[in-house]
Symmetry: C2
Subunit: 145 residues, 2 copies
């Protein structure tokens, strides 16, 4: 089960937006692209998807760029991946026109497994990732353990 670079790019980009969120100023594609080493024209498409699904909004013109529409602690990783991977909420539930009883139980178990993974992705927010990154860079912050 590999994480697609598509989703990884999206997560990196949103993480970058989250890091600049307190400034209230838009971040440009170019900036994110060079910072995280992502091909900029490709990143543009991904940000367009994120914008269409309402996770970010864009400011056009000079000094423009992208901004999160919500606070970093209100955006779960599941939302991001679901949006970029194109799986709308019902797609996991539907698709149940399987005839054989074997097919049905297989899909039940598969759904259970997916649900477990999605549960993990649901509970982490952009804020959590930022904190995890900071903790990794300054491990002395863990002194209180």
């Amino acid at each position: 089960m590999e994480l697609s670079t598509k989703s990884e790019y999206a997560l990196l980009a949103l993480l970058e937006l989250a890091a600049h969120h307190h400034t209230k100023e838009p971040v440009q594609i170019r900036q994110i692209a060079t910072e995280q080493d992502i091909p900029d024209r490709y990143l543009e498409q991904l940000l367009a998807s994120l914008r269409r699904s309402g996770l970010v909004r864009s400011q056009r013109g000079a000094k423009g760029g992208y901004l999160l529409t919500r606070e970093p602690w209100k955006i779960s990783l599941l939302e991001i991946i679901a949006c970029i991977e194109g799986l709308d909420a019902n797609s996991t539930v539907s698709k149940q026109q399987h005839s054989s009883p074997e097919g049905i139980v297989i899909h039940e178990v598969w759904q259970e497994a997916c649900g477990a993974a999605e549960g993990i992705l649901q509970k982490y927010t952009l804020q959590d990732l930022l904190e995890k990154r900071n903790a990794r860079q300054q491990p002395d912050i863990m002194y209180y353990i």
Copy 2:
């Protein structure tokens, strides 16, 4: 997160083998294919993969076919999917040459999510699926609840 038909076919086929396991007689590709509505030439390739990874063994010649190498309760669904999807044990662990700290934390969380899903698939065996299917066909077996 869709289950590939590839994995679904493999699970269906092994489920068929598990159902006939007590007879100790090989089951033919054609039989599985017609029973579960799988293109037989394609199923042949999948069974070849399963054989190469040691989950099934084959009997050549007339009256030949396929047999499970282990009992149905000793084969987890994870093994099957891992084999057919081509992810050997270390592939999930390696691939860690990511430079940015953001990339690292993203992959950590992704691994946690995958681990959760794999945990589910690990705990179910072919036997469990057979029982689930039977319970579905004869719900009166649940009387003891």
